[in-house]
Symmetry: C2
Subunit: 466 residues, 2 copies
């Protein structure tokens, strides 16, 4: 297996380049605006990628909304009142430290310069840091400016005139939509504490140095859940969400050995956070954040109450108390999760002297659940039987037909995109009205009556869920 | 039934205000950034709205991608290379005619001024039109400027410096993402003509005068499908899509009497279009476009080929020809579709002297498929039975529990949000282990063993689909 040893403890994962190449070739992810030379840090999801990503979102929604009594969904706009981002602190402090080379005017993120990778948050705020560490331009060696804060929010202008009054921002996070709608949601859904608001949606950050494929993009999607709790319950509830979110990834197949928790050090904590623990994954480029779990205290609702004048207190009918709820947040994203599932499910193995590549994706995540393959495409009765079966399957499942190669190659194509089952229709099928279901991972085959194929696939999917 | 007679031919629909009020009260749609006084032309989807809208998107994806062999999905970025919008003609001509009052500097869209509602496209391009019609400011009667073109694209700046080189746009349509990815998709999915690319995603238009609730927003979502065809097939295939898209709306419950086709007049056609026919719905504010079907000819791919230098021709292995495919587009959106389903499903009827409000939503679209209601919430055995049933249902369905009122009121609450079935657990249930399934539309009740409730609901959903 081609692999890069980033860390001796965790098992190997494929090279980033292996995944990027598979993703583009098979239609998971393409560079955006490819024919115009691309646009930095935006990627487009192709036919298989959009299915994978939709499946990831559906799996999250199922675990976070559908199966629970205490969490409801929300889909707030990307464009919000600009005061939201002043209140939240984003206008003032959602920024990265930018340094500029005085000679060639190239710009860099301070904490990504060679020699500055391990700076503490305190170091980064130090205006003399460039001199203190003797940092120079990594391209031409020229002198660098002192760091200045570069705000990561994209701004635009709403309404027919470009003036300051109309400046608005593309949201850098979905969370604020849940905070400003706290009262609307609580009242219309009649929820009592503790309860949560879940959102999936696009956010935008004008990153100085995006990269690592879909890991850090300027346009990306989030899956965030804000859980509103009594202040004295927050610490306990925070701890409860840690294994829940870990288990969600492992349920869908991520190897526990490639996951770890990492708590933020005090000087690393965001301004709103009382405590923060990341679920990290061992990406091909090292351990990185997959999802963050945050105890945000009463920061968000208190600030919004103070700045908007709206009463955001919760009235507890049991204790007759009025108070500002605390918030425990789980903050992940379908891009990063889908990327993780792609990497983690990648397999290479030797089968009769050839390398078989497969994606051992959980059936709920796989773009196609089943492929229908004719053993002899020249026999019209076989092709017709395939199409009848396909039509039946497609009423309930993402299914695909392929007859453009010999069966061995057709299997490999489906393995490589993670299709859990292939159904092969052969000459015998015309007699016994049965077909062969072949399993992606075990490569075992089972003969099943054609009229029972859909039931068999649905049963196998249900079994994978249990 | 409260209704406004917009047109004598079509049956009455509820007042807009009735829908807006229900939507906010029950958590379908809230004004964005409500606690800060709102932001014009952006709306947030609440717990029920996000389910309805997701169901609409899923129903469209099922009909357009899952059930078909010839259409695949795509999810391109909102941010694209700026050249895309120059090539497409949006930078040059995606604009509305703006006039400004010389006295109070208020701005209006020319064709929405009193006395200018029925202007032709030629009139709108006439620089003397204001004088010719004697138009004045509808607020203070002051003189109006000649119309100038106001571009509807939102622009922003990518990268760490705000200069012209970094100006990019928020896409005003998803379609261009399908055009620039045509070759990537065609090659990685090995499709032959005719085939289509379907996309669902946010688009942004800086409308001069948005309005009518979620009908015209500055941030909105599209469901667009681009169907690539041989040039000589385009006219026929265009005609085939008309009934297909009409039937999709009626399958999900829209009254055919409130739908009509309207063909664009020659001077109304967009610059790219050879022919355009809208599916219109009779909204409370009149007949308006619900979806557009367009024959775009080879405009899009020819332009992108010329401007990008990429070869976007299709090679037909059967005829050995190389040519630029023509495009037939179906362009709708989940906001407008969800809004239509809300309006069209709204019912008021007299039941024993009281007004019963219900949403007769198709079960696939209803936010909750089933509500579990205890007849006596003071009996813990009944409540426990309810929760066991609820947990079972929630593995497969959106289900909800409510015990905060008497049964009559609980039914009305579910009727008003469109829940097709209520399951009532009563004292007898403790003995016979059965529950009552009550139908939203007929209000008939059926006694079913509790262990068979989920199967019964799933069967009824499948029946509604057939």
């Amino acid at each position: 297996m081609t692999a890069k040893a980033v860390d001796d403890v965790a098992p190997a994962v494929p090279e980033l380049e292996t995944i990027v190449s598979l993703a583009k070739r098979r239609g998971f992810v393409y560079p955006s605006s490819d024919i115009y030379g691309g646009i930095n840090a935006v990627w487009d999801y192709g036919p298989l990628g959009v299915e994978l990503k939709n499946n990831v979102k559906r799996a999250w929604w199922k675990a976070m909304v559908q199966e629970r009594d205490d969490i409801v969904g929300l889909d707030a706009g990307i464009l919000m009142h600009p005061q939201v981002w002043i209140t939240s602190g984003h206008v003032g402090s959602f920024s990265d430290p930018l340094v500029e080379c005085q000679t060639d005017h190239r710009r860099f993120r301070l904490d990504e310069l060679p020699g500055a990778e391990n700076l503490t948050a305190t170091d980064i705020r130090d205006p003399t840091i460039v001199q203190r560490l003797g940092l120079t331009c990594p391209v031409d060696g020229g002198p660098l400016s002192a760091p200045r804060r570069f705000n990561l929010m994209f701004k635009t202008f709403m309404g027919p005139v470009e003036d300051d009054a109309a400046v608005i921002y593309l949201r850098p996070e979905t969370a604020q939509g849940s905070y400003v709608n706290f009262k609307n949601v609580q009242q219309s859904s009649r929820k009592k504490l503790p309860f949560g608001i879940a959102q999936i949606g696009k956010s935008f950050r004008n990153e100085i140095s995006p990269g690592n494929f879909v890991f850090r993009m300027r346009e990306f999607e989030q899956m965030e859940m804000q859980y509103f709790v009594r202040p004295d319950d927050a610490a306990r509830i925070f701890e409860e969400w840690l294994p829940r979110r870990w288990d969600w990834y492992t349920h869908y197949g991520v190897a526990p050995a490639r996951l770890r928790f990492r708590e933020h050090a005090p000087d690393e904590l965001a301004h709103y956070a009382k405590k923060a623990i990341d679920v990290e994954y061992r990406f091909p480029f090292g351990w990185k954040e997959l999802e963050g779990i945050h105890n945000r205290g009463d920061f968000d609702l208190s600030r919004h109450q103070a700045e908007s004048g709206a009463n955001l207190e919760y009235f507890d009918p049991a204790t007759e108390e009025h108070f500002i709820p605390w918030i425990v947040e789980t903050a992940g994203g379908p891009d990063r999760a889908a990327f993780t599932f792609l990497i983690d499910s990648y397999r290479e193995e030797d089968v009769r002297g050839e390398t078989r590549v497969s994606l051992a994706l959980h059936p709920d995540l796989a773009p196609y659940k089943v492929a229908v393959l004719p053993l002899l495409k020249k026999r019209p009765e076989i092709v017709e039987l395939c199409h009848r079966l396909l039509k039946d399957l497609k009423q309930d499942l993402m299914a695909v037909y392929d007859d453009t190669a010999a069966i061995g190659k057709l299997y490999r194509r489906q393995d490589e995109i993670g299709t859990p089952w292939c159904v092969t229709v052969d000459v015998d099928s015309l007699e016994d009205l049965a077909a062969t279901i072949r399993d992606r991972d075990s490569m075992t085959q089972e003969r099943v009556p054609i009229e029972g194929v859909k039931r068999a696939i649905l049963d196998r999917m249900a079994a994978a869920r249990a």
